[in-house]
């Protein structure tokens, strides 16, 4: 076996970044997420797959408490970020969201300059002391998002003037500027063309050396390409969770097999 590939394939077992146990989510009276137990490992890409309406986006939004903005949504169970329960009453969701960043389906840069887009997060969380540090953070975030070369001469240009793929990479740069520990991505490539999608996927592969990444995708091929761990959701239940290669060549649960081979969903 090619030794390098073995090393890459081994998922770093530096421990769980996020541990979810017995999570239930209710939308009013409807029980949307049922008894979900899952581990998000550090420096790993974990993919959530499943048919439409299976609850994967809902569960993702629990991880940074974005569901708080929906008044009829109720979350119970334990979600621990490095051992601390994020739904504890002492936790301020605003502070949590600096540690758990999010990238959305449709690229949504602020209608401000590229610099401002990336600098906004660090500024409001008070992460830098002066302009020089802020400049450095902006530059390093844009470099990590593989966008620096393309925009370094026009940082004052509006963020909305970039192409779709560039805008999404800008949103990624914005999310990682607050030095998060976990990066959540909700179908980040569904609004992009195939080349831009491939570029973003390559970027995700780079990013996993620094963060834990959780990506929700409706394309199982994307999950297969990009992740090391895959969780299959169906009708609000977590059906199977395991190493990606094993899930796609020999899944344990017949429902997983049906979904992956295109027989259901």
């Amino acid at each position: 076996m090619n030794d390098m590939r073995t090393m890459e394939r081994i998922v770093s077992t530096e421990g769980n970044k996020i541990t979810a146990r017995n999570v239930q989510v209710y939308y009013g009276t409807s029980h949307a997420i049922k008894d979900v137990d899952v581990d998000i490992l550090d420096k790993t890409v974990t993919a959530f797959i499943g048919p439409s309406g299976c609850g994967k986006s809902t569960f993702l939004r629990c991880l940074n408490r974005m569901n708080d903005t929906i008044s009829v949504c109720k979350v119970t169970g334990n979600i621990l970020l490095e051992g601390e329960n994020i739904y504890d009453s002492r936790v301020d969701p605003v502070q949590l969201r600096a540690k758990v960043g999010m990238v959305f389906q449709k690229p949504n840069p602020f209608p401000k300059s590229i610099y401002e887009n990336v600098a906004y997060g660090p500024r409001i969380h008070g992460l830098t002391r002066n302009k020089a540090e802020l400049d450095a953070v902006v530059e390093s975030s844009l470099k990590k998002a593989a966008l620096w070369k393309e925009v370094k001469d026009r940082l004052a240009a509006p963020g909305t003037g970039l192409s779709g793929g560039q805008q999404q990479r800008l949103c990624i740069a914005r999310a990682i500027a607050t030095a998060p520990e976990v990066l959540l991505m909700d179908e980040p490539c569904s609004a992009l063309d195939p080349i831009a999608t491939a570029q973003v996927e390559e970027l995700i592969d780079d990013l996993r050396s620094q963060f834990a990444v959780v990506i929700v995708t409706h394309s199982m091929q994307q999950a297969a390409r990009v992740s090391q761990r895959t969780a299959f959701f169906h009708l609000g239940n977590l059906v199977e969770y395991g190493e990606t290669g094993q899930i796609f060549t020999n899944p344990k649960d017949p429902r997983t097999e049906s979904y992956i081979s295109g027989r259901i969903g």
């Binding site: 076996m1 090619n2 390098m4 590939r5 890459e8 080349i195 491939a198 570029q199 996927e201 390559e202 592969d205 091929q221 297969a224 390409r225 990606t244 290669g245 796609f248 060549t249």
Partner: protein, 234 residues
Amino acid sequence: MTSTGHIASVFDRDLESILALLMRMGGLVETALLDAAQALEDRDEELANRVRLGDKGIDALEEQINSECARLIALRAPAASDLRTVLTVIKIASSLERAGDYAKNLAKRTVVLTRLSPVGSSSASIRRLAKAVVVMLKDALDSYVHRDLALARDVRARDHEVDQMYNSIFREFLTHMLEDPRNISACMHLHFIAKNIERVGDHATSVAEQVIYLVTGEMPGDERPKSDVTMIAE
């Protein structure tokens, strides 16, 4: 390799890894054949036994290549020349595994032959045959690595010469067996050995055909030049 890598660099690394495995397997098979032929010539039982045991490693590699390719197809959904690459790797690994089996068989019969008296200059001709076939195999694998269409076609044409060499060895053994019936046992083994080596040559040709499929997208239509006339009764 294609000129530009994939945007997803992990795809490139996966492909390189299965190709590396294939080349390793090819190297092992070449060594096994040469060692077996050497063992036959030197009547070296120990070397022959080593070759026999080494076949396990070759089989394990084939299994590993198969599962890696399955994983690659499942996860990367290769298309066009990438797909042909993966398919040809699987086929070539299978051919190499068969060639490895023939080398093992050669080694087994060599051990038997050490207990029988030698027959004329048979071992020299067999060594020549083995060498020619190993060169064919090496060239075929080289042509795969470099996607060298001309070399692949050349390998395919050389099968004709190997067949002719086999024909002459066949007649040689007939002569030996007619001369002295005590030679028959040894000559039978030697004959099987020669046949096996000729089959390895066919597998090398098969590898070359996979190269043509990989590069052009189509299997070569024209029949292989077969010169094996031993089927025809004299």
